[in-house]
């Protein structure tokens, strides 16, 4: 069974909660006690129907105010795949939450209300998914029952969206006409829309091909931890533990360690369950090297003929997530792979309007929920790839040095 991480986003009225509720209910991931609890709370509040949003809105303030505060994670499985949903609200803190929810997603669902067509929020969702390089974008045109299951409505929305998406970097774009409330094309193909010949939503989620989405070309192992047992049973054992961030490592491979630049060979790849013939993302392994080279946490193991960019001057798209604006001259803590360094903001090159994609080059700061292109200088060289090439070696987070809070997320531009 494979794992698919998906992100959903939407506002109060577009049927997102109903859709998630239906996926969870039909795949038996909602339990009777959860349903009873939702029915009880809905009755107490005087709702006319059971509010499926109560399943995801777990915090006291959310229940009392009928809002969604934060990213919620939901789980369901079919015999083919397990699904992790990062469910984000569309209204408050949308950039912060959507960037968070999309950062690990294999697929993003953008919901469009068939009656309203493409609105500002639709474009914003699609842009943020493409910014975060989510490999698969799925547009669900919802509430088809309220437009008489009219094919022309669906085709019109599809064309308008595809035209907008051509300005974005979207690798795989699909469209499904659905009614989350009536269940049309959610789990089963709908009899009301015989003109639609594609898969149901659930079938699409089960079948979408994700095996080629990870970077299997550039071998990258950021070292997390040096395993040195100092025990009589394993004398002189020295291994470098980490999660493979790209490519494939095999025993016998010639590798290079950064920053030292020393070249050596993979002596073995160890796990608790026995040695491996090869290691690839996202495996957590321990690599032994033939030579006694100096390797510590924060170093990177790669191939000598396929090295990452090494540099202290960074060019990145940054999503800003806190009230205090980002400004030139700010000092921040920056975490990239397994290292923390200090960074100083050298330049805000432009601020991007996430609704219109307009670049405001006169901007000198980024405010809460802004996205912009920023130049940073860091205290020590990073070994990185462009975010478009590798989401793991091309991303970083920023933390405030005084409060320690995470205030920004960065996606690196590289030479390619």
């Amino acid at each position: 069974m494979e794992l698919l991480r998906l992100a959903t986003a939407g506002s109060v009225d577009d049927g997102k909660s109903t859709l998630i509720g239906r996926l969870l209910y039909d795949s038996k991931a909602i339990f009777e006690d959860q349903l009873e609890s939702m029915e009880r709370v809905s009755r107490q509040r005087g709702d006319e129907y059971t509010d499926l949003a109560l399943l995801t809105d777990g915090l006291r303030a959310e229940r009392e105010q009928g809002i969604t505060i934060d990213v919620a994670y939901r789980y369901f499985a079919t015999p083919v795949r397990k699904f992790i949903i990062a469910d984000t609200p569309g209204h408050i803190q949308y950039t912060r939450n959507m960037v968070t929810g999309n950062s690990m997603a294999d697929l993003t669902i953008v919901l469009v209300d068939a009656r309203k067509g493409i609105v500002e929020q639709t474009r914003r969702h699609a842009f943020l998914a493409s910014l975060l390089r989510v490999p698969h974008l799925l547009v669900c045109v919802n509430k088809m029952d309220l437009v008489g299951y009219d094919r022309d409505v669906f085709e019109g929305i599809r064309e308008e969206f595809a035209s907008f998406a051509s300005r974005l970097d979207v690798r795989d774009l699909s469209f499904i006409p659905i009614s989350a409330l009536q269940g049309d094309n959610v789990v089963q193909r709908s009899a009301s829309m015989p003109w639609y010949e594609g898969a149901s939503l659930l079938h699409h989620l089960e079948q979408v091909y994700i095996s080629s989405d990870r970077n299997m070309i550039d071998a990258r192992l950021p070292v997390q931890w040096v395993v040195r047992p100092q025990a009589a049973s394993v004398p002189d054992y020295r291994g470098y533990a980490g999660q493979v961030a790209g490519g494939v490592f095999k025993p016998g491979d010639t590798v290079m360690v950064l920053p030292s630049g020393l070249t050596t060979t993979v002596a073995g790849i160890d796990t608790f369950d026995g040695p491996l013939d090869e290691a690839f993302p996202p495996m957590s392994v321990t690599v032994r090297l033939t030579d006694d080279v100096d390797v510590s946490r924060g170093d990177l193991i790669c191939r000598p003929l396929n090295q990452p960019t090494v540099g202290q001057d960074l060019d990145a798209m940054v999503a800003w997530m806190t009230e205090r604006p980002l400004a030139v001259g700010d000092f921040l803590a920056l975490k990239h792979t397994t290292r923390w360094v200090r960074a100083v903001v050298r330049d805000v090159r432009y601020r991007l309007d996430v609704n219109t994609l307009h670049r405001d080059e006169s901007a000198s700061t980024l405010g809460l929920n802004d996205v912009g292109r920023v130049s940073l200088r860091v205290t020590q060289p990073l070994y990185y790839d462009s975010y478009r090439r590798n989401r793991l070696t091309g991303s970083f987070i920023l933390a405030a040095e005084d409060t320690n809070v995470t205030v920004g997320a960065g996606m690196l531009h590289g030479p390619d």
């Binding site: 939901r74 795949r81 950062s103 095996s211 047992p229 369950d273 495996m283 957590s284 975490k335 995470t406």
Partner: protein, 311 residues
């Protein structure tokens, strides 16, 4: 795990979902060991903490787990589970710290709740926070999963606690990619939940695949019980039936391991881990909804306890 090659049964260079979440959990555990000075792993002997201990073992193998293991002992645990706890910790060669709620009561730090059969569930929070302060722990691994409960569905993997041990659900750090931010000041700490993305079924499938040993009360057995608030409670030294509560013998097992006072049994004939995987896959009640009185107090019972420092 005897898997043949990694990703067996999936496409080439594609891990199975269990291998995938296992790799993520190991990554999280290593990050904590590397970035914190004094981590500790909470261990109750329950299935989630047993799985967490196995993951910690894998993360540092062939080295030992580089942090101690701590049990918050309410004094009302199932005896089978305490015996299991000691054996398990000895097998992996870890150091066990036991923090006792009875000690907190004797020291006057907390008062026993009034009434018959008082639960010490809430009192654990004081004992836990005192132990964190005493040992100066700065990272505390917990076995909580997001599928367990609705407040937990919104909690981060690295969950920040202020100097009062409090969780502020409306003011959590955004968590992106697998870049975890464990930065904190002295006196603050982070709760870490490496099993966040695991479901109850995942835990059982992993227990089956790995051949992990669990306390005997997880498997079907005969036990003297009585019914209270729709739950089957075990008759024992800390729990006595009221006058109108009839005691009977039933074939039961436990889905969660908590205090004897607030953990209910479910009727079950599942005697093996395979039986349980089948039972969990078919069940229509969440494990906490079915068996935990502590979560039935109100819609936000878990959130309220977590805010003041609970697990």
């Amino acid at each position: 795990m005897d898997r043949g090659r990694p990703g067996a049964g999936t496409g080439r260079y594609q891990l199975s979902q269990l291998e995938n979440i296992e790799a993520e959990s190991i990554h999280i555990i290593r990050e904590v060991a590397a970035e914190f000075e004094r981590p500790v792993l909470l261990f109750s002997g329950g299935k989630d903490s047993v799985v967490m201990l196995r993951l910690a073992q894998k993360a540092f193998w062939p080295g030992r787990i580089p942090f101690p293991v701590m049990h918050i002992d309410t004094g009302q645990n199932f005896p089978e589970v305490l015996e299991f706890r000691d054996r398990c910790v000895a097998e992996v060669g870890a150091t066990l710290v036991v923090a006792s709620v009875q000690d907190s009561i004797d020291a006057g730090r907390v008062a026993e709740e009034p009434g018959p059969n008082p639960s010490r569930n809430r009192l654990q929070t004081r004992t836990l926070l005192d132990a964190i302060t005493e040992h100066r722990f700065d990272a505390v691994f917990g076995g909580a999963r997001r599928d367990e409960e609705k407040a937990r569905a919104k909690e981060r993997v690295f969950s920040f606690r202020d100097e009062f041990g409090q969780w502020d659900p409306k003011n959590q750090r955004p968590e992106l990619w697998s870049l975890f931010n464990g930065r904190h000041r002295a006196g603050e700490h982070i709760r870490v939940f490496p099993l966040s993305d695991w479901t109850e079924l995942d835990i059982w499938q992993y227990v089956a695949d790995e051949g992990i040993d669990l306390p005997s009360i997880y498997y079907s057995h005969r036990r003297r019980v009585f019914r209270r608030d729709g739950m089957l409670l075990s008759v024992g030294p800390h729990v006595a039936p009221g006058g109108d509560e009839e005691v009977f013998e039933a074939t039961v097992r436990y889905r969660t391991v908590g205090d004897m006072t607030c953990t209910g049994a479910v009727e079950s004939v599942a005697v093996s881990v395979e039986d349980i995987v089948a039972e969990v896959a078919a069940t229509r009640l969440t494990e906490r909804g079915a068996t935990r009185a502590d979560d039935r107090v109100s819609e936000a019972a878990m959130e309220d306890r977590k805010r003041v420092g609970y697990f």
